[in-house]
Subunit: 392 residues, 2 copies
């Protein structure tokens, strides 16, 4: 057990994946809340919405029509943040090379960003969510992620054999598949879901996004650097390997587990009910999961999302994202990658009261109001059937 | 002028204050928005609200009563995130010192956090905001910040003489002043304001918070490290000194300026209309501002907040915060500090449509939809009288 005293005193905790600290103030939840209330999501959506640009058969913003797909369907985002082709950009340097210009090019640095952004639906049904789907129904989502990742991997990637195996093992989506950008090998693939209006999601149809980029983004870059450093300093052991071991031994932050995956409220959680899903063995990317592990991962995702919904009996908002080996990387970067998935949910006290990460958090340091141990205990306790089931 | 091409293509920009990159996708604002709408703040508040725990003469949560104060009033937060006294905490090490325990103490690091949190009202009037106040009315706010900072400085601080001067120059608040924690010298003072329900503010009475802590928080710590590195590598020049020079020469990101302060949408802005207020000369902390500069700083704050409100004709939400020399620091830390104030406002397109920093931003990298140059041009253009004035 953690020192019990941490339940009562303000303290900082260290996040070894980020190399940074956060502030924990367990007594803060005692303060009354008179601020903004979230509007709880209406549960009564139609199974098919003729206005939804993600429903099967419907027209999208730029005029394309969706096929009459049955489970998952991926397409290039009509408003992609990065694109495959754009005007070239070469930072200008003043030919004279005088001092002032040197300072300007040092302080005003830019680099072009290209890539491709996809949208991927989880289901043909407009009114479902991962929490409503069974693990078996979530498996096709994981299979689609795996095929998309595999098909975007660089030709000389350390995981190319695993990728080839996955592409053989998992049948192609009959409703069509997305193709990698043609002109260049991209560096990273970020799979993420924004769920709920509180997390900026503008369409309740269950879906995630996949942004592939020419550069390694900050967050996975920071984590990879930390994991590589740990690997070098600890005789080839992995940060998340050791972390899984420690959490399984301690138990107090474990929410759920099966043979393949551990679900914990991490020691360094920032969001009130933040959760980390970690592969128990050294899986570097989706393509290394066996078909049994894909089901185990689906179970883990199902457990997290169902428990979230049960916690406050609401359609729980969150952002989630998968971190794994870059699409193009060195041997060492592939070796030190460790497959995991983050869930960052904003709700704190109820379906309508969220935690705001604002002033102090933005200007000084993340701050949380309940301990991760308290959050884990509550998530452990709400594993029953999805609360909506019995209401229907 | 910046390369015009950056207005049209996706690119990354570098933030030298943080040492990190962000993604800029200027074309993204073309996408339609069907997501959450913010509720615009009602402007019709009473000048005095008997229910408000910040109004003069009213009772607070823990039973204390506010004095009948006239302008600013500071008190210890009734729900402080850190406190002066708490149980002691010493991380336990297993006496056996076996390997597993070493890993646990490496991966589950905590440290106690103590300090004091204050609330400071900007005005006795419940229904005003910094945007409604004149620069002369904002001066007392800056004077109070200065006195509080000065009185919390360590005895051997490199700025102790400036602090002593400030305390002589600025008369004490007749309604009482907050005292520093008695038992220990604190390390940092974070002054910040959360304004508007969208930024987690639960009381519209104009106020900020001041959290003083025993440790240097992550954000000012990161900035200080970057500024110190720059100072060492550039023959004693300062990062923000050079940045002010570059921005004044370029002009395209400048929103407003007077003799003492530059207001820019920084090259590396993340929030749509993010603004940085930077001292033009080397001011290391509030106590180094002359009385003339306090008025100039008040003017800058007034210009930013009024322009924000004018932009979408609404009570514009934001979080703001001041970064300056730590309360307790080395000669070099004091020397490399450079006084500045950040404004992080969430609105993107109108009074009701905000930018969500969610999935990709949290999992991968901050992403913005308009360029800082476009944002600065719009803020330059709305400097007239506060829009509400003519409506009254
Ligand atoms: O202290 P307040 O105003 O009640 O609370 C607000 O500011 C704090 C500091 O940024 C945040 O931790 C809270 O989430 C926010 O609601
Ligand atoms: O792409 P969407 O779902 O329209 O937009 C949402 O997710 C993006 C990626 O996290 C964010 O940049 C947007 O602010 C958010 O509203």
């Amino acid at each position: 057990m953690t020192d019990k005293v941490l339940d009562d005193i303000s303290h900082r905790r260290y996040n070894p994946l980020h190399g940074s600290w956060l502030l924990v103030s367990p007594h803060r939840t005692k303060r009354p809340w008179q601020g903004q209330q979230e509007a709880p999501a209406l549960n009564k959506l139609p199974e098919y919405d003729p206005q939804c640009y993600l429903c099967p058969g419907n027209k999208r913003a730029q005029g394309d029509s969706n096929p009459h797909y049955k489970s998952t369907f991926a397409f290039v985002n009509d408003y992609s943040a990065v694109k495959e082709e754009q005007q070239e950009y070469h930072p200008q340097k003043d030919a004279a090379g005088d001092g002032d210009d040197d300072i300007a090019s040092l302080l005003l640095q830019a680099q072009p960003a290209t890539g491709r952004c996809y949208v991927l639906t989880f289901s043909a049904k407009h009114d479902t969510t991962l929490a409503d789907m069974s693990a078996t129904e979530i498996v096709p989502v994981i299979e689609t992620w795996t095929r998309i990742y595999a098909s975007h991997l660089s030709a000389l990637h350390p995981l190319r054999d695993a990728a080839a195996r996955s592409l053989c093992e998992i049948p192609p989506n009959p409703d069509g598949e997305v193709e990698p950008a043609k002109k260049q090998q991209l560096r990273y693939m970020q799979i993420f879901e924004n769920k709920g209006a509180a997390m900026g999601c503008s369409n309740p149809h269950p879906h995630c996004q996949i942004w592939t980029t020419s550069t390694l983004p900050e967050e996975p870059g920071k984590e990879l650097a930390q994991m590589t450093k740990y690997h070098r300093e600890h005789k080839g052991r992995h940060l998340l390997e050791d972390y899984v071991k420690v959490e399984m031994a301690k138990g107090e932050r474990v929410v759920w587990q099966n043979d393949g995956f551990l679900v914990v409220c991490p020691w360094w959680a920032v969001w009130p009910f933040e959760v980390l899903v970690i592969a128990k063995r050294h899986v570097r990317a989706l393509v290394e999961l066996t078909s049994e592990e894909r089901l185990q991962f689906a179970e883990a995702v199902q457990e997290v999302t169902r428990r979230y919904d049960n916690l406050f009996e609401t359609n729980f908002p969150y952002s989630s994202g998968i971190h794994q080996a870059p699409l193009d990387c060195t041997e060492e970067e592939a070796e030190t990658s460790w497959f995991h998935m983050h869930f960052y949910p904003p709700l704190l006290r109820s379906a309508t009261v969220r935690k705001f990460l604002v002033g102090y958090e933005l200007m000084a340091e993340p701050q949380r109001d309940i301990t991760p141990e308290q959050a884990a205990a509550r998530l452990r306790d709400c594993g029953g059937e999805l609360y909506r089931k019995s209401l229907q």
